[in-house]
């Protein structure tokens, strides 16, 4: 722990010392910031890959990119956004916030925490090294081009020669160890490190939701690792797990992958719910509506997430019974998710709403996530899915979930907690520009994308003929990228300006109620001078309003 003691004035010492401090740190706050920072860097890379694809698809029969390059781009884009952006950012916020919110001085296993971060980072770098290294001895291959779910037999030795698919397997496998250790750490911290009075029923909803996410990671991530090991055995030892010529079954890979892949969607999305559940009450000036219903709904979503994986495979030729089962359970997920939406809306109802930047992003999240959920329920209807599977409608659906739902709440979380992490406020003006431009860009790109899908445009094609009626929609979709990029540029400028202008945030800029706002911004290495004693779900409210504390009513 001593190694992580933050120097109070990093600019007063040489940059090598600062670098050394950060590289060797085991402090949960620094690791959290490093997770988020690395995630944002990969976000820029993944975004550029998407922008290149949209340029290729902007006009019919465009030849800006070769089909091979296009295949690599959508593989790397999907893999990057899920494993190298979503996972580190949610782990980063979990790392940063869980100890602060439960009144602890660090995570349960600080060194394991550092190990997990470096495993994630080097796993990601290994994946990107494929662009240089995967030609290997074969003289064939570049980045992986088998799609982010690497279906067999395409990813088998016969169809993916060279080392490209191996970089996908190993990069994700290694960063998966990082996710697993992060989950062990977050779960253990939340269960055993809570300060006095912080009962399970008083934990902030974010901590509750990260407990569920950690359990999902622990159960869902190892099957991916196991399936990847099987694929490696097939590729290198001549095993036959997915080899149809030896009696193996390529569809088994799909089952194993999606048994991980669908819980993974909730692993990414529940943290988004968590940020919204912290931010919406503070900016509505009301306690969250239905705290225990929120916890119950989160646990229900977690349990159901293990029973829906094959809705990704409704068109693969399973029996009708299985199709109906997976379609029906998928629709059932709509119930706990709907409970959450109603709880957030009920929190807003009658509140004194302050539309600061975090709240703007949360408001857009509520509407967009509702639409994302509705298209999800449409796709759960088996005949509907048969018609639209592997079309741009599906692409639009999951981008609505992961951008309209998750990314908007991540932006909300960054604007909300950045003052705590850095001690400086982000510009409200630039934040509003960021929000407006990104909102317009998001809807230009992804709302129109549903229509190409309904008109029959398949995903993953690198170009299309001019006479299909897709031209205008694709042009609009690609045009939206300009607005999204402009929004992200505003965000980047806001981040840089925050450190230039150094507008002090103070301990508690939003007049919030959870424990992280009771310490300084940024918090000292030991978090709290004296460990807090909690009597209600809003400990900081009790401290500010001793005449009317929450614990009288809870």
């Amino acid at each position: 722990m001593a190694a992580s003691d933050a120097p109070t004035h990093p600019h007063a010492i040489s940059w090598t010392d600062t670098l050394h401090d950060w590289v060797t740190t085991v402090d949960h706050k620094r690791l959290g910031i490093m997770y988020i920072g690395a995630g944002l860097l990969f976000f820029i890379i993944g975004g550029l890959e998407a922008a290149a694809m949209r340029w290729q698809l902007a006009f019919p029969e465009n030849d800006a990119l070769s089909p091979e390059t296009f295949n690599r781009l959508f593989t790397m884009h999907g893999t990057t956004m899920v494993f190298l952006v979503g996972m580190p950012v949610i782990t980063g916020f979990g790392n940063y916030l869980i100890p602060l919110m439960i009144g602890a001085r660090d995570m349960a296993f600080p060194r394991l925490n550092a190990w997990g971060f470096w495993m994630f980072l080097f796993g990601g770098l290994l994946l990107y090294f494929s662009y240089f290294g995967s030609t290997g001895l074969y003289g064939a291959g570049s980045a992986p081009d088998v799609g982010w779910f690497a279906y067999t037999p395409l990813s088998g030795k016969a169809f993916s020669r060279g080392n490209a698919a191996d970089y996908w397997i190993l990069g994700i496998l290694i960063s998966g160890f990082g996710s697993l250790s992060g989950a062990v750490n977050m779960l253990t911290t939340a269960l055993t490190m809570r300060c006095e009075g912080m009962t399970l029923g008083r934990m902030p909803l974010l901590v509750w939701m990260m407990v569920v996410v950690s359990l999902l990671i622990l159960i869902a991530m190892p099957p991916l690792t196991a399936a990847q090991v099987m694929l490696l055995f097939d590729r290198y030892l001549g095993a036959h797990f997915f080899d149809t010529q030896a009696g193996g079954d390529a569809v088994l890979w799909q089952h194993f992958f999606w048994f991980f892949g669908h819980p993974e969607v909730y692993i990414l999305m529940i943290p988004g719910f968590a940020y919204a559940s912290e931010i919406i009450p503070v900016f509505s000036r009301k306690v969250i509506f239905g705290y225990s219903a929120m916890v119950a709904a989160t646990i229900t979503i977690g349990v159901l997430s293990f029973g829906v994986w094959a809705h990704h495979m409704l068109a693969v030729g399973m029996s009708s019974g299985l199709n109906i089962w997976f379609g029906a359970i998928t629709m059932v997920v709509g119930v706990p998710t709907g409970i959450k939406l109603f709880n957030w809306i009920a929190t807003l109802y009658g509140g004194h709403i302050r539309f600061r930047v975090p709240m703007l992003f949360c408001a857009a999240f509520l509407l967009q996530f509702l639409l994302a959920g509705l298209t999800g329920i449409m796709l759960a209807a088996v005949p509907f899915d048969w018609q639209l599977t592997d079309s741009y409608f599906v692409v639009a659906h999951f981008h609505y979930v992961l951008i309209g739902g998750l990314l908007f709440t991540i932006f909300a979380a960054i604007y909300y907690w950045f003052p705590k992490m850095s001690g400086f406020m982000l510009s409200e003006t630039l934040g509003r520009w960021h929000f407006a431009l990104f909102l317009i860009g998001f809807h230009l790109t992804f709302t129109t994308m549903h229509i190409q899908g309904i008109l029959g445009m398949p995903r993953r094609i690198y170009t299309y003929p001019a006479d299909r009626g897709w031209d205008v929609w694709n042009a609009i979709t690609s045009f939206g990228v300009v607005f999204q990029a402009a929004g992200i540029a505003c965000f980047a400028v806001a981040l840089v300006l925050a450190f230039r202008r150094r507008v002090p945030a103070g301990d508690d800029p939003w007049d919030a109620w959870t424990l992280e706002w009771s310490t300084t911004s940024p918090p000292p290495a030991y978090n709290f001078e004296a460990l807090p004693h909690v009597k209600s779900r809003r400990p900081l409210w009790d401290e500010k309003h001793p005449e009317d504390p929450d614990w009288k009513y809870e």
Binding site: A183, M193, E196, A246, G247
Partner: protein
């Protein structure tokens, strides 16, 4: 880092080490479940021999060794709690011996399968699923054995006392887990699969 006195929840039965080890065991269970499912899914699907019924013999002695080693480690941990270091070391030694014997039996079995029956991971689906499932289990036994050997060496040098009983108990959790996985592997491979 040590908040044992600061936190109310730390004093309960669920301390850091226990929750951490339980999480690891949960993740490992999920890992083995996938290999078990793959084994079950491919029973009877091999296109060519050798088939399980032709070449597998029920590993009675190996199972006996591994199951007994769970008993000896429980006994050893109790001795350590009471401060009896020599019986603890003896119990640990017995555990390592029994675990080592299990690995020995596996080695003999594999030698026979490979050189007499020509069954390797590439031969057929049975070979593919058998070696990966049994092999991953054996690898976990080996990890457990090296951890136990480390504890034994530290004990012989006098570095392990009753204050470490909690940590040794966590190691025994892992060992029991490896044992339980063997029960599942044994049932699937040597009873259901033949």
């Amino acid at each position: 880092m040590n908040q044992a006195t600061d936190t109310a929840s730390e004093s309960s039965n669920w301390n850091r080490g226990r929750v951490g080890m339980a999480s690891l065991i949960l993740a490992e269970t999920s890992f083995f479940a996938v290999f078990l499912v793959a084994y079950l899914f491919y029973i009877g699907r091999s296109l060519a021999g050798p088939y399980p019924a032709d070449v597998l013999e029920f590993p009675f002695l190996a199972t006996l060794c591994l199951l007994s080693s769970s008993v000896t480690i429980v006994w050893a941990t109790r001795q350590l709690e009471r401060g009896q270091r020599s019986p603890f070391a003896a119990g640990l030694f017995a555990t390592i011996g029994l675990g080592g014997a299990f690995i020995g039996f596996t080695a003999i079995e594999w030698h026979g399968l490979i050189f007499e029956h020509n069954l390797t991971v590439t031969t057929n689906l049975f070979g593919t699923t058998f070696y990966s499932l049994v092999g991953f289990h054996a690898a976990h036994v080996l990890i457990g054995l090296s951890l136990l050997t480390g504890v034994l060496m530290l004990t012989l040098r006098g570095h392990v006392g009753p204050e470490h009983a909690e940590r040794v108990e966590l190691l025994s959790w892992y060992w029991h887990f490896v044992d339980v996985v063997w029960l599942a592997v044994m049932t699937v491979v040597y009873i259901v699969g033949v």
